[in-house]
Amino acid sequence: MYVAVKGGERAIENAHAWLAEERRGDTDIAELSIAQIREQLSLAVNRVMAEGSLYDPDLAALAIKQARGDLIEAIFLIRAYRTTLPRFGASEPVDTGAMACDRRISATFKDLPGGQVLGPTFDYTHRLLDFKLAADGDVPEAPSRETAADCVPHVTGFLNREGLIEEAPYDDAPPPDLTREPLEMPAERALRLQALTRADEGFTLGLAYSTQRGYARNHAFVGELRIGAVPVEMDIPELGFAVEIGEVTLTECETVNQFKGSKTEPPQFTRGYGLVFGQTERKAISMALVDRALRWEELGEDNVGAPAQDAEFVLYHADNIQATGFLEHIKLPHYVDFQSELELVRKLRREAGAQQVQEAAE
């Protein structure tokens, strides 16, 4: 039964007006600009771009402002905007080997071509609140060092020379796209990687942590982590050649995993891969660990029943917009559904009551 009711309109309008006022907060405090959010809350902006699956720092900053800092709400706004854009095409796969690295570290080799470049990291901070930031102050310019244009090769390349690590064979098959076709099982690796790169950071982190604690343990080393800008090139159909159309900052994590070998594969190191928009290190490492766990079948490993090995479980629950949509819909009116449940429970109680009376009479 469907019952149409009216009467919420004014309440909704007034709720929106109050939302706008609460969003602004105390008007004695200066209003945040989009540029301030973009420049000073850049890691929040990066997360919104990664999980919103649209690289545009100004739009992500606007979404964060509109969502009052609720990042999942901001991601929702970006996903909704994305659907309104005509798609001009797909880029050439980006060459992360040509990245202008802000940061590049390896946990497996101390001395490696290109070196260990720490970049603007929280890693060696003491995690003590810095009250100087509560006062206005100029920041001294960061030191620079003369640099030759260093070649920064991928670490997995060195291991590959000895044949100690599985290859990532070159391929040019056009990848499936979950924004065009619904995600269906079994999902090939290209589809899993697309789902993981836009997956919720917290969910991905939790699953990756579970593999470290022993649920489908696969002994990951961070072979390499790099953050920096890569050029994006696209074929221009009108011209018949590719041009660079811009630049995106990416975080790439390649894990090197212990592997004793299986029925089909020799003992060697195996690989997990994470590639995410923006400076999003925790997410990229998590993605690489989960990617590796999901590869159990193609590597001939045992399914130990761990959550991170279950592609259907992982991929169908990793998207925070799908999850929040379904979760939050239960707060919307279910008056009629509930009315029928209420009727059912009353009927069952009446029947149970009648039975007791009858039993007592016998």
Partner: protein, 151 residues
Amino acid sequence: MKDTLIENNPRQAWMSLLAVAPEGRVATLLDAAQERPAFTWLRAPEIGSTMVRGRAGATGAPFNLGEMTVTRCALTLSTGEVGHAYIQGRRKVDAEAAALMDAMMQTTLAARLRTAVLAPLETEVKHAKSTRAAKAAATKVDFFTMARGED
């Protein structure tokens, strides 16, 4: 920007440079150098997206990483040259300036615009990149051995 592009195809190189110029910069340099010629739109500036792809394990099979916003347009000068622009972001004014530059670089104005617009732009883009690279280089670890156990 990849230097290899510049050697292969000059048009590819200038289109790429125009795409990575900071907001408003092409228009400023262009307007300081040259009056804008008359043109008609083949395709008025339009905002859309490009799906950015990566490769599994950096070198393997491609996968879809996510989209980026892109503005494109195309125009014809009254003298017949066609200019295209595909640039990152939602920047219709910049796309117009880039497409005009693309068209004008095919005319006799090319040498002048190369000096007045492309050369300073290239210097600025390179400078921004090398400033960042120098800051990264300052965070490179110089390992040294403090003590060895075998003595």
